[in-house]
């Protein structure tokens, strides 16, 4: 990472309290984090560490109790097409075809039909779904659904992609395949990515920086730079450097000091 690149996402002292019944608990305690333009950051940590809270705050779907998220020097105060989100449950509109799903955001931007068509074709091709343009989501496999969701997020040309355990519902083989595809897509059209996962392998393989969080209260425990060059391919997983980094992250996730044992 060069120091000259501008900061794309800035978490400033994010603090989040949730009230469950009559007790309130701290989901995120004073988290600050800068993500540079074009960086691929993964956030990994035990459940309840507030990683999804951070993502939702960046997406504008949640207003933190205190602190703020600043995207490209503008404080986030609601969802914006500049920030694309990819959900674990795909969240495709089941009544729309693949093409119509990808087109959804473009229609909202009132783009002319010919241009919409061109953009949709481009992104369906990018994620390899051209042949399924007229299929309904229910006809797609899990991996295809998620590729459609990625195309939909890319289509509105967001500067940032927020991904909330996007491959969490997929089987292990499909997941590895999707990780490769995501990196390939990202390599061709680079965005700033914040990727939340609970999978250490995934976190290391994708990221240029892994943020390890701790739970109760949710906070950043460690940031680990992944100095492995892009483009990456599956052979990387077999290298010594990768194994070392993976061991580092694993240790940070699973051997956190002072972790409460009721998890």
């Amino acid at each position: 990472m060069t120091t000259q690149t501008k900061t794309m996402i800035r978490f400033e002292n994010i603090h989040q309290e949730f009230v469950v019944g009559k007790t309130s608990f701290t989901a995120v305690e004073d988290v600050s984090l800068n993500i540079a333009d074009g960086e691929f950051v993964t956030v990994v940590g035990p459940s309840g560490c507030g990683k999804s809270t951070l993502l939702n705050a960046a997406a504008g779907l949640l207003q933190p109790t205190s602190g703020q998220v600043v995207v490209d020097e503008t404080p986030v105060d609601g969802p914006s097409p500049r920030t694309g989100v990819i959900f674990q449950q795909y969240a495709l509109f089941p009544w729309l075809t693949v093409r119509k799903n990808v087109e959804f955001g473009l229609e909202l931007q009132k783009k002319p039909a010919a241009e919409r068509r061109r953009i949709v074709d481009h992104y369906l091709d990018l994620v390899g779904l051209s042949r399924f343009a007229d299929a309904l989501p229910k006809e797609l496999s899990g991996g295809m659904k998620q590729r459609c969701a990625i195309a939909r997020a890319y289509a509105v040309n967001p500067e940032i992609l927020l991904m909330d355990e996007p491959f969490g519902a997929l089987d292990a083989l499909t997941r590895v395949h999707m990780q490769e595809q995501l990196l390939e897509t990202w390599g061709r059209e680079r965005r700033t990515v914040l990727f939340v996962t609970h999978d250490v392998d995934e976190a290391v393989y994708l990221a240029s920086r892994v943020i390890v969080m701790a739970a109760r209260p949710g906070r950043i425990y460690k940031a680990i730079d992944v100095n492995l060059p892009y483009p990456r391919d599956n052979n990387l997983r077999l290298t010594r450097e990768y194994a070392d980094l993976r061991a580092q992250v694993w240790d940070a996730v699973y051997n956190q000091p002072g972790r409460s044992d009721n998890n």
Partner: protein, 249 residues
């Protein structure tokens, strides 16, 4: 077993049923008119124009009440699902009237609205309105929050979220509500005509009862059943078309 052979069994079953019915009436085991007598009566009622006009009268009531009830129920259901305030205000009434059988409203409706078409259409309106409003409202509150968020992050305003996510997502619920409403309307119209009417299938049955005219009662019953079935199937077909996108469990 194949689809066609299963259908064949259904047809055979109906034929056997009619056979048993014929047997029962011929042997005198039960005092009922046979299929032949009922068919003759049906031909007579059709040729004199009595049956078509009764059918027309009943259908007109059902469709008027049903269409009015549904047209009002859908926006009310949406409002109740979307605005907690409206829901809180409307829910006690909806829940209360839902527990009152529509027929129980008839005496009141007749006193207030007179004995012409209005009270009958009103109770049918009420029956279809109540089942459809509850279904629509259920549909709106169960819309997947992730879909709403997905639309919002793509730049959708509240209005767009409503029109392009909430409306399509709740359409299967609305259609189920309409089916239940139509069934309830049909049941209500016949009963209402039994109580107070000068035309319609229910009225004709009530007349036939006075004259011990069993074949006419049978003709009416078969008409009521067949028509109810046809209407239900028609809506089912519409439902299957409009909600083809749904994952079937």
């Amino acid at each position: 077993m194949g689809r066609t052979s299963l259908q064949l069994i259904s047809v055979l079953s109906v034929v056997c049923g009619i056979g048993l019915w014929a047997l029962a009436s011929v042997t005198g085991a039960v005092v009922v008119p046979g299929p032949r007598a009922v068919l003759d009566k049906a031909v007579e009622l059709v040729s004199t124009g009595v049956l078509p006009s009764d059918l027309g009268a009943s259908l007109a009531r059902v469709l008027t009440g049903f269409v009015l009830g549904t047209i009002l129920a859908i926006p009310v259901g949406f409002l109740m699902g979307w605005y907690p305030l409206i829901r809180a205000a409307a829910e006690p009434y909806v829940q209360f009237f839902r527990t009152v059988p529509p027929l129980a409203i008839i005496p009141l409706a007749i006193v207030i609205m007179g004995i012409d078409e209005t009270p009958k259409i009103f109770v049918i309106f009420l029956a279809s309105f109540l089942s459809c409003v509850v279904a629509t409202f259920q549909g709106v509150v169960t819309v997947d929050k992730t879909l709403i968020n997905a639309a919002r992050v793509l730049g959708a305003s509240s209005f767009v979220v409503f029109r392009r996510v909430v409306v399509p997502a709740s359409s299967p619920f609305i259609l189920v509500g309409m089916r239940i409403g139509l069934g309830a309307s049909w049941a209500t119209v016949v009963a209402a005509e039994l109580i107070a009417a000068q035309s319609g299938l229910g009225f004709r049955m009530q007349q036939a009862q006075l004259y011990y005219d069993l074949p006419t009662i049978f003709v009416q019953l078969i008409c009521i059943g067949t028509l109810g079935l046809i209407m239900d199937r028609a809506l089912l077909l519409v439902e299957a078309r409009l909600t083809r996108w749904q994952e079937r469990r």
